[in-house]
Point group: C2
Chain length 469, copies 2
Amino acid sequence: MARARKLLVPHLGFPSLNLIARFRNEANRVRPTCLFSRGIRVRSLVLICFLLALAGPEFARAEQSPEADVSRVASNPRFKAAQKVLMSEHGRTVADIIRLTEIPAPPFGEARRAAEVRKDFEALGLKDVAIDAEGNVTGVRPGLRTAGRGPFLVVAAHLDTVFPEGTDVRVRRDGWRLAAPGVGDNTRSLATLLAWIRALDAAGLKTDSDILFVANVGEEGQGDLRGMKALFGKGSYAGRISAFFSVDGSDPAGVVTRGVGSNRYRVVFSGPGGHSYGAFGIVNPMAAMAGAISGLYALTPPASPKTTYSASVAGGGTSVNTIPASVFVEVDLRSEDPKALAELDRGFRSAVDRAVAAENAARSTALGPVKAELKVLGERPAGMTASDSRLVRITRAAITAQGFTAEEEASSTDSNIPMSLGIPAVTIGAGGRGGRAHAPDEWIDVEPVEMVRGMSAGLLAIVAQAGVR
Amino acid sequence: MARARKLLVPHLGFPSLNLIARFRNEANRVRPTCLFSRGIRVRSLVLICFLLALAGPEFARAEQSPEADVSRVASNPRFKAAQKVLMSEHGRTVADIIRLTEIPAPPFGEARRAAEVRKDFEALGLKDVAIDAEGNVTGVRPGLRTAGRGPFLVVAAHLDTVFPEGTDVRVRRDGWRLAAPGVGDNTRSLATLLAWIRALDAAGLKTDSDILFVANVGEEGQGDLRGMKALFGKGSYAGRISAFFSVDGSDPAGVVTRGVGSNRYRVVFSGPGGHSYGAFGIVNPMAAMAGAISGLYALTPPASPKTTYSASVAGGGTSVNTIPASVFVEVDLRSEDPKALAELDRGFRSAVDRAVAAENAARSTALGPVKAELKVLGERPAGMTASDSRLVRITRAAITAQGFTAEEEASSTDSNIPMSLGIPAVTIGAGGRGGRAHAPDEWIDVEPVEMVRGMSAGLLAIVAQAGVR
């Protein structure tokens, strides 16, 4: 992913009645896709009960609008002090960006960079610093109310880049411009997490809720969101997360509120195979594959929420005069909405089943039938966080407070996982300008004024969401 | 190809009225496929007129049955003398097999072996020995009546093997067993041509018609019958061939009378391509390909004449999240009957056209339409020589006369080309046993009695067809 935003915010720390009501509604409305583990759904329900119980005392508190909360935090002297620290420590943040960028972190090869961030988290005084079984680095900044027991507001940035092992990741610096593979997506965000922690500590700003800082694995491509799947699906924080910020890319104005989910398959159609002339009349897996593709392309998914499919790659067969024993097609199914994605998924699987049955009915199975096997290439559950949810309103207000024009976006990011579970989540940018993400000439601009303005938006949203007394 | 047979025969030299009438019928009935060049068809008609003119004087000659002609030749003292020479020169024939087998002749790499056979033809006293532009070696044994002016009875054996350059082609000899790649398919047949010429000359046996001996290129696989296409379609013998024997493999009992034709295509479907999510809604060449395959598999070709199809190999696409810009499928269409093959070909092309049109109608062509392009991978025209034709009756009678049980077969051999032009043609075996054609452990048996019995069958058929006074 490669984008960013910015935010400010006041708030009372932990979910207001309003938020919890909305949370419940979202949990009912935005179901996890059929592909996501049932265990996570159960944990999600447990969390909702837990949050409802905890929220009791809050009922008495005056309900304030998210925008008012952001405004209150922005004028808080300690928050203003934290902003000053972001500026005074700018040089250190840039040094962190360079240091971390130059530690390669290809997909499934994030361990060295993770070890470095772990040391940073420890040096900054986070509690319970650890690397989980999947490779995510976690550390807690305890809130005044929950004192590190949770639930947690998560602030995460992914460790991995798209670049393979052996890529030259040395940073070329030219004035305020830094260029290197992965510098903006997503190493700047890792350094921004460190800068925010340092600023909060230096300003003596204590939030109401616990904040769990995460430097996670597996956001890019084949990583298939494995870091988030582990964080929300197993391990010590599963079921204990109340809201989620992913910090990904630079752009401080964008807010990803719709998580485009995807199911990706390679479907292998197999059969007995044989000589094109001698064995003519037996079933052909190619004919079944054609039927399945035609069946997929006869489906008409909704235009909104946007739902799409593609039969993208095909292969297989031995020679032109041989009925193939095996052929395959790769398909990509996507939607902003988990229900629409699940329905599309069922439609596709049904098309495969019907095509296989039709081929086995149309030709001889004396030497064996045609079969189809779906291999999962990727599963990113869809989800969304409502525009009128407290988290999105806080985030937009924080971005606006720093002078940006907030824009809601649809994308596939780490937020897909909490969104798919009904947990409020947005993806924001770290601040500053940048470009050419996923390209070898990727670059960012670290000019201090613009960069700190963007970093302030993110910090404002986080603090408003976590609450200050 | 890998098979063989045997034959004897009498006959009056040149096409009887009966044969010409049948020839005319065949020329009308067995049309060249739509894929074969119009030029060849025109030449074929010219040949028919020429043969009708020449045949005039034959009207007066007593009509004899093909079987009676074979019987007459078999009892001819000079033919008996020729058979004795086949036996007395057996050692030389075996030496020729070994010598020629050890000259590699991969597809499109037959030149060295061709040069060697050219020397053999010259040494045996054939007239007009030459290598044509395609690489075929030709040499004429003039008949008493036409004295080398033609028309010609062709006796051909292909030079090429299926084995690539660099294959170890040394012959391993164990008693009567010779093993080497290509030894039976088709090097034994080349040596048999030389043995037959030697025997006829030694016995002083003059045929009535001219015999054109041919060692031709391009019978196997990708060669796509290029040697025969050149011989019948261009060059000095095109339009001057009255009947055709292909000598291919060992089996002396089989007679290929039905030439299985094939049209092989790679169909490339192309379109604008794009991001699977961002560009959803544009045409997808994969969907058109699926429609074309389904359209092909909805066709029901006749069971007799046997007509078949196969969608065999598929490929294309960039990545699972990209609508492909190009995909392809390879198909093999075959039939024993040129009309059925042409109809199947039209049906397939129509299925491609309909699928492309349907895809362009179903989705947006704003970025460009889907197109399909057929690339010809191979064209072997279908054809047949009627079981009651003079050539087939002569060949069967010759095989029977040597004590074998003649069997008519369908296959794809050099005879496809003359068959497709309505020129009487059969493919016979050189004689002797053999096996494992197209495999590295290919072998033949050169035990003299059995081998000469098979060689005699072929020679008897040729002499009966060419006629002796």
